[in-house]
Amino acid sequence: MSSSPLLPRRAILQGAGVLGAFGLAPTMAFEAPFWSPPGNTKVAVIGCGPWGRNIASELHGLEGSEVVAVADPVASRLRSAVRKAPTAKGFRSLTEALADSVEIQAVVVATPSHLHAAIVLEALAAKLPVYCEAPMATTLEDLIAIRAAAHSAGVPFTCGLHGRSNPLYAHARDFLRSGAIADFVGFRGQHHEKTSWFSPAVESKDEAELNWRLDPELSLGLAGEFGVHQFDVFHWYTGQYPIAVRGAGSIQLHKDGRKVHDTVHLDIEFPSSRFLHYDATIANSFQKRFEMFHGTAGAIKMAQQAGWLFKEADAPTIGFEVYAGRQQFHDEEGITLVADATKLAAQERIKNGVSLQEPPLRYSLKSFLMTVQEGAETHCDVDEGARASYVAISAAKAVRTGERIELDPKQFRKAD
């Protein structure tokens, strides 16, 4: 696979290095390559639900990786995963895969969130580099255990928070932190996706396993499963972590006896009395997913594959505006944010509209492979993964209890 013409692989990592100046960037870097396998990195993907299969498929198509194992206790999911990664051998679990003769050099954990901890700890105990999807865990105890194990294992660890590896998000963050919207006023975010969150099981014995997200004892609900990826973007962009969170939830559409809300609202308090108003629903899909940053000179809206700047009337002109594409949103005009806008403008491509050249997940997996193969700095280390997951756990508790949950500043401190 080629590197993105918008931002080569190396540039992503160089960008991450610049971010270190703000004291928020990933901290885990290896002075020498952790390990340089002569050929492809042999990866095991643990968890073969739709997202795990997506990961297996991306890794199968990526230069520098070979999916050698996929694991899931549900046979139908395992069969589907092997179709997505035909080089892989199927197993019921990581334990089974590690006991087999197949050589595994890195582990990707995409199981239900409440199962992450045990698998991550098993992989780290085997001294295997780990890529763990977010939220990393559903309890603070598990987060602490993962964090400690990752720090002592001495192998690369990446949390799958994809905003940080998305070149468009990195570009917009640099732009925002250079003062493009001046001082923050507040934040908004949403994830709207109309779906039932129910998975039909061919065999009834698999139904509970497949529908863990609808089990209030296991699931962080929408606040945790959707919110965690977006909370991290706000942490990364602002350099701040929340002080407290209030939440409420309801069932607006899926009145089928479920206990996990299909619609949630959160008010997350950041320092200086700034609030993130966040809502997530699986009862409506309007405007899907975005994060918005409101400032005194304008606003920035990020929507995974695209981003826009909306200027206040009194905001100064910015150099790239003359090249930029524009989109109308009712009575607002958005200036399209594009990574490497000047270079693209020179190629006369920018006004035609340029979007990401690869899916966000691919950037994230490429970045992980580079930590394994070249000792590169991870785009999201275990500490940042744990911080976002801690906010997700707290947000889920706020929704569940209806109480204001104060966040413990100790959880956001850097490890010694």
């Binding site: 696979m1 080629s2 739709p50 997506n54 498929s57 199968h60 198509g61 230069e63 139908s76 589907s80 092997v82 179709r83 997505k84 990664a85 035909p86 779906t195 039932s196 129910f198 998975s199 039909p200 099981a201 061919v202 089928d256 594959q305 035609n352 509209g353 340029v354 979007s355 990401l356 050249q357 690869e358 899916p359 691919r362």
Partner: protein
């Protein structure tokens, strides 16, 4: 693919929750095919192929291989009447701009002899040199329907009809109190169960652009505006590919008769498009 898909699932009322969830899973499969093989999404696998396929081979998974096995077999059997390497010609003829679409063609222009190569053993797709740009339009639509039907069956659904843009239909089982799902083709009602039907019609879009179905080859041109073909096949991808080939060259219905029989393809009509489901 730029078209709408519709799924009709049959089952007991008490199964509604499971049917809805199965339908969601099938639609997710269709979205995934769109994300991988759309000519218009910059981050699709097809965009990557069109940009870089001359320089490196793209790895395919088992589902992708099914798609390109069908494409390669019909390309060969139809002597090139079916050829997805028409994206540049379609663009040059103005068909994409007319619909407000920007195709991802790559920037490399090369010799007309450069073509696409599916390596069944290595499970890769690549170009023999700079220049080709694939448009998997119809066959990708059929492929999406095939995978969606498989997903529904894996979710335990026993009866469903799925269509993409009404021109490609696949069905299995039967609706309640009926013997089969029925699709009208001209005056004939065709029963579908475990089989697909597709139609290709070179309806003229405008005098300026000609028809949207092009006759591939050294001098690409639109086929006649009265051409149409409707076929039955074991898969929707195969049906779509053959419908296109026969729309381009109706004489293949007898010239390629042996292959059509071997692949289980039945030519229903060379004039009548599908009308109603």
């Amino acid at each position: 693919m730029g078209t709408s898909f519709e799924l009709v699932l049959a089952g007991e009322a008490c199964d509604r929750r499971k049917l809805v969830a199965a339908g969601e899973a099938a639609l997710e499969v269709i979205r995934d095919v769109e994300a991988r093989w759309s000519l218009f999404l910059p981050d699709s696998r097809l965009a990557l192929l069109n940009r870089t396929g001359h320089a490196r081979a793209i790895a395919l998974d088992a589902d992708d291989c099914e798609l390109f096995e069908v494409a390669a077999s019909v390309h060969e059997a139809s002597a090139g009447a079916f050829d997805p390497n028409v994206a540049r010609a379609m663009d040059a003829a103005g068909h994409f701009a007319q619909r407000g679409l920007t195709p991802i063609l790559g920037h490399q222009k090369g010799p007309a002899s450069a073509t696409w190569r599916f390596d069944v053993h290595a499970k890769t797709i690549s170009f023999s040199g700079p220049g080709p740009a694939l448009d998997l339009g119809g066959i990708a639509k059929g492929h999406a329907l095939d995978l969606a039907a498989r997903e529904l069956q894996e979710c335990g659904v026993t009866s469903a009809l799925l269509h993409g843009g009404t021109s490609s239909v696949v069905a299995f089982g039967a609706p309640p109190d009926q013997e089969a799902w029925l699709v009208r083709c001209g005056e004939v009602e065709v029963p579908l169960n475990g089989i697909a039907i597709a139609t290709s019609r070179a309806d003229s879009q405008s005098a300026e652009f000609g028809t949207h179905i092009l006759n591939p080859g050294s001098s690409v041109k639109s086929v006649g505006c009265r051409n149409a073909a409707t076929v039955l096949a074991p898969s929707a991808a195969l049906a779509d590919a053959w419908a296109t080939a026969l729309c381009v060259r109706p004489d293949l219905s007898h010239r390629a008769a042996n292959v059509l029989v071997r692949q289980g393809v039945t030519v229903l009509s060379l004039h009548e498009p599908l009308h109603n489901v």
